[in-house]
């Protein structure tokens, strides 16, 4: 892979993340980059910058993905005893002016397809190296 190709893929990934509503992922990765060891930043090649973007994006998506909600419920229910019934859901009570409203965290999206695809791309790029 040439430097130009690494730059092209990296730029494409950033642009596509932003244009499809995942700009926050780009912000998170940029923050991680800023907080990296500064003395190493100046020596980062286009190839290592692409690698960084892919790895960190995967990790950020993993930490946002709701792919294991049912497993989370099961984990709670394996732990303790409950006076009424087992835990059925995890909800967030939202601030409202009238009756309380609740959001069931089951409704949050999972990003397993994105994570899987980015991992495949990372593997393919590593094979190219």
């Amino acid at each position: 892979m040439t430097d130009a190709q690494a730059i092209e893929i990296r730029q494409h990934l950033v642009n596509e993340l932003i244009s499809h509503g995942f700009g926050d992922i780009v912000l998170e990765v940029n923050t991680r980059l800023e907080e990296s060891d500064e003395e190493r930043l100046s020596g980062r090649s286009p190839r290592s910058m692409l690698d960084f973007l892919l790895r960190e994006s995967i990790e950020v998506f993993e930490n946002l993905s709701n792919g294991n909600y049912e497993e989370l419920i099961r984990r709670f229910n394996q732990l303790g005893s409950f006076s009424d019934a087992r835990i059925e859901s995890i909800v967030v009570e939202l601030l409202t002016t009238g009756e309380p409203e609740f959001y069931n965290l089951r409704e949050l999206p999972d990003y397993e397809s994105i994570i899987g695809e980015l991992r495949e791309i990372l593997t393919e790029i590593e094979r190219e190296h």
Binding site: E59, L64, L72, S83, Y103
Partner: protein, 226 residues
């Protein structure tokens, strides 16, 4: 890399993100930004981890009191037992109660003479708190056994500064290590008086860089992935 491979990789990126666009954080419409709700999901995962550790490492039994829904709150509040909470027992002895999104009265509030009602800087919010049993209203800093903050974000130095300030409002720095109420987890001794254990759970592994500094002030950092 061939031009065909380059094109294919770019196409894969576009396709998967297009397919997922309707569930992107900026497109999902809820009353609370999706990012905040995803932060609450992380908090739930951390709570499960804490409960697991209390059971496995401290030999505690846990009971959820007050319902079959775990309710997290968008905004903190004083203790309200109409929301489900966990009782933590060792044998038959109730050693603590575990709440989420709870306000506690700060050390500075205590030093000021504990004015009532507390205002502004007199209280802060804890994402997860293990408190002494039987409390109501705003627990004091001395009634906190375990104070947990959850950050599902990239770690920045400003977060560490915030954390150190938060610790300031929980306890004084102790010269030596003081026994906590725990046998081993998360710590049986801590450099803080009162001897509350203060923890930050963070999804960014770079949190580990700051452990030795935070150790000096009785703060435990935990890298935790969902």
């Amino acid at each position: 890399m061939t031009a065909a491979s380059l094109s294919r990789i770019k196409s894969k990126i576009t396709t998967v993100l297009q397919q997922s666009a309707n569930v992107s954080p900026s497109r999902v419409r809820t009353l609370l930004p999706v990012k905040s709700l995803q932060g609450k999901l992380y908090e739930a995962h951390v709570l499960a981890s804490i409960c697991s550790n209390l059971a496995a490492k401290e030999g505690c039994s846990l009971s959820l009191v007050g319902g079959n829904k775990l309710v997290l709150k968008q905004k903190g509040s004083p203790i309200d037992r109409s929301y489900p909470y966990f009782e933590i027992k060792r044998g038959k002895v109730l050693i603590g109660e575990l709440f989420t999104d709870i306000y506690f009265n700060t050390l500075s509030h205590f030093i000021k003479g504990s004015p009532n009602p507390p205002t502004h800087g007199d209280f802060h919010e804890l994402d997860i708190a293990l408190l002494k049993p039987g409390l109501k209203g705003y627990p004091s800093h001395a009634e906190v056994l375990l104070a947990v903050e959850c950050k599902n974000t990239a770690i920045k130095k400003s977060i560490i500064r915030e954390l150190l300030g938060f610790r300031r409002e929980l306890s004084f720095l102790a010269q030596g290590h003081i026994p906590t109420g725990f046998r081993s987890w998360p710590a049986n001794r801590i450099k803080a008086n009162p001897a509350s254990v203060h923890m930050l759970y963070c999804s960014d592994r770079r949190i580990n860089r700051y452990q030795t500094n935070c150790d000096q002030f009785g703060i435990i950092l935990e890298h935790h992935k969902m």
